[in-house]
Symmetry: D2
Subunit: 293 residues, 4 copies
């Protein structure tokens, strides 16, 4: 697996139930843009879903995707047993790979036992997920992969992301493929340092696929140009407020007509007037939909 | 509600299933010691349980308790909707109160909406849970209580605990009763600053009840004496390693013959030889059980 | 005071002594670009200087500036007495204002006593400096200003910066003027939320002044355009590695011919090959100097 | 070097000047109790002193000590050059060893270059200081020692302290001697795990020396008994408030008649009434001085 793997949002209806039609629509919007895979993870508000809702989301996405691209599902949990259980369930529901962040706080020995337990339970690849609050060092990623046969991928997004991707690639000895995260903000910096994929928001798949293709074709100048025009302004806006990413990218998908409601499951600070106008200005320039709700 | 509310451990059998008999035994051990309430929360490894396991644990504890003391159940979650759902379920299963830590990270406005949503869903008291990683300031506790009719308790355990308890009591205006946590390490410091209860491990309920009774009777010297002899040495040992508390207090309950297995759900670093000998020495002095497994 | 106040770098020679000529050159480069003020602060590696070196840097900058623009000097320290002492010394050396981050960790009462002590010692304005590791909440900024007559400014750069600037402006009641920091990354977002100034690196003063002038003239589109072309790419690169900002902006000043050596006082990770090529590409596009050392 | 190395407080007079007589008195009080060394470090409020005051404190302590025990001086700084400079100055003033915490944040490569620079400048042993906010892993301690000939000691006090001491001892390969810190709270736990020394507050040197001697004589029961009676109650009280340690231990020394004033350099929250009564009760039991100011 490599390339652009957008993390799907979970659209909700006005009663905050999973909006299956809109979810299917996000899947199609991304596959038709040429993405190389799909993800269900933190960006999908997965930690805000009940167990039943998580299974529902996985099933709908698998059913809609029909094998056209691989699907990576976040099944991390606070215990080896529950992470292994959720991972096996995801596999049974049709996931192509699982991705787990370790419990927090955790010793290196505990992290190793955790990924070993998951790897021993599934028959599909396992991603280690490194985040700011649950960092997994480059050396530990390698050690876990040596001990756990299905752990062959890591998504690295503890800051500073490009440096961490580079360290993970260097330590991997070719055993682990390194993806970046962070909304694709540092995609080109990560590719230059050996990253082989990215897991951005699912609101701009065409731009990300274009960047990927330009990079593969050796046209770095063009890749940078698209990133600066399409991705960077939204990345900046997303970090200008607390947890604003979900809200902005759902709103973008709504304006594009992909999902019906932009609602983020509470607690979630709403888009204030100033931020809305900033988003309007960016959408204007990018020719994205209208603000009419 | 006030007094000693031990947080029950969740005993597991060798296959890591909930050991219902041992769980009932922990309930009896504590009630017979004269505790004023029981809790099911982080110390119960609740974050390591599936939704079904959590319901099972609540049901067993409610069934065994038969109304003799109130039961506080941690039902915190990452979303208003799920926290409210789990809270209503706990109430339906027989909980006397729910206790929720806010999602993290969270703005003050989000924290207020979160507790409002929970309060609006239940008919029983709600505890705000303040922890090191999810702090809720004294002023915010008061503001939430003013807006949410069922929020009438807070368990304060962000460091430095006694100072934080004091601030919460001062800000509460009598609207919120403040409990301490932190394994009861600072129980007397908290009582002197207006705390009205504690939520310790469930392995030493007699000692905690004796301390409570001595304090109520005005015999502070005796309260200090018991705390220093019975509680402080284990509190020190529990903080000497990462997340060692669960392991030590389950082992203590096993040695006392209350539960069958001391197993903590992985990932969990085991008791090493040196720590085991340190625990042996403390148990010897306190006349607690034998180390024979 | 308002507008663009670049924080000067402290250039070093090959023996790591302060290079006075290069420092004077950075001052001229910025003043001639039309900046509204200058700063000597964290970006000046001030925490890496001895007391004597700090005084030297202040003296050289004051002497070179000759009153053409105000100079803000960071004089924060771990104690009221030392912060007050360094503040008075800076005033005597010719500083127009001082800027202090509070000690860490600190209670609200301690922060108030700290700024009171500084304010009582000087006759020039005092900036409160809020950072990620030493946050000062919007409400506390207001309270300090009410108690301390010279505290009339705050530089707000704890994340998310624009939201924090907005909160500080709202709480200030017009008593405190709010500047942004963070290398000017969020300058426009901050201006839209009531910020009145920025303290960026001193390597791109023309671009920052142009953005400022466009904003003042109501030409927001042009302001955004310059920011995206000139500032954003370097801001992204600066956050791609740990503490890379000093290294990149000193290198930029060297390539522009403003300073002789780009050396950052150790410990400091050097620019690796990939990052150097990334910087080369940005410099090429912006028409900045040559990479010949 | 091994054993009990109290970190001296810096006594101040009513004008907050260093009170040399009281400082000499603290030195004598500790040496006469039989301590094995003395330290000037964070517990000495060293970060709150000017450069001149630091030199004064070192000189007075060296002069008073007259070679009877070794003196370890904290000379850490944010730059290699300044840490090396302060270390050489400390050596010239008569320090027996220097102790440095690394700058923060810092990469492993930077930490290595930092200690190398210090080691290359002095002719006396260098302690690595590991703290909660500037952690140095066990493996990195070993690597630094291999590269830097004078780095032969580490003071380990990032939590959980006994576990970290154990890891550092295991990784050291006999090349580095490991001391504990944390006010001696975990002294026995650290000794059992291979620690060879402790750096407590200087207010209870007799008790610490007694514990040390009992431990050396193999009488662990007695060591525990003294620790629980003399050290643990004050350790608990010290952690019950933010940065309360300096205030409590200066007050203890004042009550013992060792220093004239208990003043801690501001900002520093004062002892409130409840805490004062708690301290009174502990002093009563330990037979320490009177509360009369």
């Amino acid at each position: 697996m490599q390339g652009v793997f957008p993390i799907l949002v979970t659209p909700f209806d006005a009663e905050e139930r999973v909006d299956e039609d809109s979810l299917r629509s996000v899947v199609e919007f991304n596959i038709s843009a040429g993405v190389h895979g799909l993800g269900i993870a933190l960006g999908s508000e997965i930690l805000k879903l009940t167990e039943a809702e998580r299974s529902l989301v996985i099933s709908v996405v698998v059913n809609q995707t029909r094998g056209r691209v691989p699907i990576v599902v976040n099944t991390g949990a606070q215990a080896n047993l529950t992470a292994a259980l959720y991972s096996r369930q995801a596999e049974e529901l049709g996931a192509s790979a699982v991705m787990c962040l370790p419990p927090s706080p955790v010793s290196a020995a505990e992290a190793r036992s955790y990924f070993r337990a998951i790897s021993d339970t599934v028959h599909i690849p396992v991603f280690i997920q490194d985040t700011m609050t649950t960092p997994v060092s480059a050396g530990l990623i390698r050690q876990i992969a040596e001990e756990s046969e299905h752990v062959r991928y890591a998504k690295v997004e503890s800051p500073p992301q490009p440096t961490q991707v580079q360290a993970a690639v260097a330590a991997s000895g070719g055993l682990v493929s390194i993806f970046g995260g962070a909304g694709g903000t540092y995609l080109l910096e990560e590719l230059r340092r050996g990253g082989v994929g990215t897991m951005p928001w699912p609101s701009q798949p065409h731009a990300f696929v274009e960047i990927w293709n330009a990079w593969q074709a050796g046209d770095e100048r063009r890749a940078v140009e698209i990133h600066e025009r399409e991705i960077a302004p939204l990345a900046l806006l997303s970090t200008a407020g607390l947890r604003l990413g979900h809200t902005i990218h759902k709103e973008l998908l709504r304006r594009r007509g992909v999902i019906r409601h932009a609602r983020v499951r509470a607690p979630s600070d709403p888009l204030d007037d100033i931020t809305t106008r900033e988003l309007d200005a960016i959408c204007d320039r990018l020719g994205i939909g209208s603000a009419v709700a």
